[in-house]
């Protein structure tokens, strides 16, 4: 799950990066409108947190240009301008949610999770697949009610597969959505993590579809 943060305030940017990384997301950050716009246009993000008052290029314009270029990722606007006229302008430009500064980090994280679920078509905060259950609020995975210990990379991989369960996910897609922009993208690492996950959950749940990628499905399902 990749998140882009576009916020010009260095401190706030750093806080957001650390809070979102702690929550198990792969986080990229940009400090001005142009850089943010470039990243959002070239990289596949699952959620973008966008400040409106940005140097070089205003946040609303960045958002409008993304939408014009048919970039559909969920965007949460983060701004000090909390009048309804500003909110309406932001939503009309194509935003999916709106958080006013100052905000509580827990609330922002809840909004990010809501956007993730919404994008993958899940209405509730926990996602189930057979005996597996992911609580997006606490970032915990249980197997038959028993918590499983996962490293952060394992968690990201499993959470992504769970969000997109019963669907074939390619290696490239996994790499793009699980790692930060400057991560060394060697698709072999994906295989390593898949191997580790198969040891922690029923191994037949993650199937390798030759030449296409992986699919997470309920155990015993041969489809």
């Amino acid at each position: 799950m990749r998140v882009l943060i576009v916020e010009d305030d260095r401190d706030l940017n750093r806080q957001l990066v650390s809070a979102l990384t702690d929550a198990g997301y792969a986080v990229d950050s940009a400090f001005d409108g142009e850089e943010g716009h470039f990243l959002g246009e070239t990289e596949p993000y699952d959620v973008v947190i966008l400040d409106t008052g940005l140097p070089k290029m205003d946040g609303i314009r960045v958002l409008e240009q993304w939408r014009r270029a048919d970039r559909k990722m969920p965007v949460i606007i983060l701004t000090a301008r909390d009048r309804w006229s500003d909110k309406v302008a932001g939503m009309d430009a194509g935003a999916d949610d709106y958080v006013s500064k100052p905000f509580h980090m827990q609330e922002l994280l809840a909004r990010v999770r809501a956007q993730m679920r919404r994008a993958s078509g899940h209405a509730r905060s926990d996602i189930e697949c057979g005996p597996l259950r992911l609580d997006t609020k606490t970032a915990r995975v249980t197997l038959n009610g028993q918590p499983i210990k996962l490293t952060s990379h394992e968690y990201r991989l499993l959470a992504y597969l769970l969000h997109h369960n019963e669907r074939v996910v390619s290696r490239t897609e996994l790499v793009e959505h699980l790692y930060e922009q400057d991560f060394d993208r060697d698709s072999n690492t994906i295989e390593v993590f898949i191997g580790r996950l198969r040891k922690k959950i029923p191994s037949d749940m993650i199937k390798t579809i030759r030449g296409l990628g992986y699919r997470l499905s309920q155990a015993g399902d041969e489809g």
């Binding site: 008052g53 000090a80 309406v88 509580h104």
Partner: protein, 471 residues
Amino acid sequence: MKANSLALRLFVTAAAWVLVVLPIAGWIIYTNHRIQVEETFNDQIDRFLPTVIDIAEEKGARGPVPPSDQVKSFRRASAHSAWDLVWQFKPLDGKPLDGKPAEIMRARPLGDKTLPLPREHGVEPQEDETYWADLPDADGQLMRVRETIHQFGMGADAQRYSVAVAGRLDDLKATVAAFRSQLIYSLALAGVGLLAATLFQVRFGLFPLTRMERALADIRSGKATRLEGDLPSEIKPLQHEINALLKSNQEIVERARTHVGNLAHALKTPLAVLINEARRDPSPLAQKVAEQADTMTSQVNLYLDRARMAARIGVIGRVTEVGPVAESLVRALDRIYRDKELAYSLDCPDAVRFLGERQDLEEMLGNLLDNASKWARSRVHVVAAAKSADQGNGAGPGWLEIRVEDDGPGLTPEQLAEPITRGRRLDETKPGSGLGHSIVSDLAYSYNGRFELARADGGGLSARLTLPLAI
């Protein structure tokens, strides 16, 4: 016309002038005319006397001829006059005429009356041996009489006569009185005409001011933003000044709003950083910082709202259509609360317009709709309707009522009874600053409107706003 008005001033001065000048002019004309008429009257009596004598001498060689022969001639002579003058010959020496005793001869209108003679009343003769006097006749009518002694005939037949002519003073007075009443009548008519003309002139002349007054009222009521219309050159500069003032007023407000917005941005980001940093750290110092930063946040919000409201006071006449505002808010909220799949229904007729700033309506309606969306189970309903003035609290053209209803859990009667105060949150379990309702309430009161919470028909919350209506 109002007690203290230009129209009244103009009218009163013009009317006073007319009321003073016309009687004076009338009196002067009347006096001159009376003197002139009297002179003519005297002049005609004066000239009638020699004429009468001439005619008598011409007809009779020795003495006055009998009246039957002379009446026509006398009448012709007196017909030149505007008045019926009378004459009289009275023999003084007692000699017979044509063998008969000489008699008094007189004009027929006199009948058997004789003219009162000035000489017999002891009046002194004038230089030309004539006597003048105003004397009452036998009936008591005052006559102006001119008398002279003239000798007719020669030798033994010669006889002196008292020849007198006269005019009735009442005739003179009647002529003068007729003129006077005509004069008064005409002058009164002229006066009334002048007053009417003045009234028209004042109304017509001041009409542009009336028009300007109406245009200003339109600006106040929000129907116009500028003073429009082709006004006369005298008040055109005023029009330009007013328009410039309106424009600069709007600019000042815009600038104030911009500054307020900038301040908000400038303060809120550091506050966000402080709060987030402090909340990650369990030390007492960090907790104190977090607590104080929260207080600062609510203070900043409080004073930003006040500044926004203060920036708005004195802004004249903005009109906002309720429908489009509600639609754009619903569009935004429908996205924010997409997961709840709420059914929004809007009932805002086009004609329903709010007399106030768009931003303020957005703020009030936005907070109410946000709250309703937060709590609603399946539907949110917005109704806007115009109410007649008497149902509101009196002032202004009328009131606009907006109701936002949801089908959520609503509030308990105790909660509904509590006053809406700043910072009070009716439920702590849903996220939000807790300022929503108090901002709505403050804004509504700043427009002399009202904000009330009640129980909706379906059991949810019904929030009702009463605001000034624009027509």
